[in-house]
């Protein structure tokens, strides 16, 4: 079910793509704000990416026009969160500790996509890098690094003895 690859920089959601995609969509649908934004999981060359469809309500600058920086942040943060949760064998729901987003190009009023790369999935934290693009994947419009906290699991008797 969840990705178990050993590669340090393996793209998130690489195991059995269609099932994994459904699992990502299921997690997104639990988040009211992700539903409000209309985020959709899509299979992507063996992995999963998240699609943010364009709506007028996403505009942050109507003179350019361009999408709001906060909308891209939401796409990045929720992609990171979903990737981290899917990678966790206990399916724990992560809490975002911090995120740092660099805006690389103006975001046109078009569909936007994001893919996550888990840099390090630890027992308590996950560090995820997310790239965001529109027409051209080679020309990203934003990149983000999100640090997430995985809540403590209540240890079972066996686990407690092992520790």
């Amino acid at each position: 079910m969840c990705t178990t690859g050993n590669s340090k920089y393996q793209a998130a959601g690489a195991a059995n793509s269609p099932d994994e995609c459904l699992a990502w969509q299921g997690l997104l649908e639990r988040i009211p704000y992700a539903r409000h934004l209309g985020l959709q999981a899509q299979t992507d060359n063996g992995g999963v990416l998240i699609h943010l469809p364009y709506r007028e309500a996403l505009i942050g600058n109507f003179k350019l026009p361009a999408l709001h920086g906060g909308v891209l942040a939401a796409l990045i943060e929720l992609t990171a969160r979903t990737a981290a949760q899917r990678r966790d064998k206990d399916d724990r729901c992560p809490r975002i500790l911090d995120s740092h987003i660099n805006y690389l190009r103006s975001a046109a009023i078009r569909p936007t996509f994001a893919s996550a790369e888990i840099i390090r999935q630890g027992r308590r934290t996950s560090l995820v890098e997310v790239m965001c693009w529109q027409d051209n994947r080679a020309a990203p419009i934003a990149s983000g690094r999100v640090q997430l906290l995985l809540p403590a699991v209540v240890a079972t008797n066996t686990e407690a003895q092992e520790q």
């Binding site: 988040i31 409000h36 309500a57 350019l64 709001h68 906060g70």
Partner: protein
């Protein structure tokens, strides 16, 4: 301050206020500008279940706080610059100190400690209304006078 400078500031502030209030995303979330003074901007966000992180918990999604910080920060740049020439967020980092409860409004207070011809540095704090405990804190860098995204894109291509 002379009357003409006062007028210039008031008119720039009014333009920034109006501009920010018309931003579709800010309206979509329900942001309300509370004040723009000197180098500081304050924006309020009332609770709304559409902005929550979970169906079973009354808690704002962290990304909503991010949007609020971005909007307040941009407004603080315009407040300090006293003009409404276009700006673009270069980067913004948010530290989420604690969950934001969904039954109370949020307040973002952004300050511009340093402004140059080209860039502006912003610090923004987010609280629950009527509470001094920090929920999140943000630091941002903005480009000034960007004349639109095309130029920013060319610079960075």
């Amino acid at each position: 301050m002379t009357d003409s400078k006062n007028n210039q500031r008031n008119s720039a502030t009014a333009t920034a206020w109006q501009f920010t209030e018309q931003v579709p995303h800010s309206r979509d979330l329900g942001m309300q500008i509370i004040s723009i003074t000197k180098n500081q901007a304050c924006i309020r966000l009332p609770p709304n279940p559409l902005l929550f992180v979970d169906d079973n918990t009354e808690e704002f999604c962290a990304s909503v706080l991010y949007s609020l910080a971005d909007s307040a920060s941009g407004l603080a740049v315009l407040a300090e610059a006293r003009d409404s020439s276009p700006i673009a967020t270069l980067d913004l980092r948010v530290d989420y100190f604690q969950p934001a409860k969904g039954d109370r409004a949020l307040l973002a207070v952004a300050t511009c400690p340093k402004l140059t011809e080209e860039v502006a540095f912003i610090h923004c704090d987010i609280f629950h209304e009527g509470c001094h405990e920090l929920l999140a804190t943000a630091n941002a860098t903005f480009m000034r006078n960007t004349l639109g995204g095309r130029i920013l894109a060319n610079e960075r291509a």
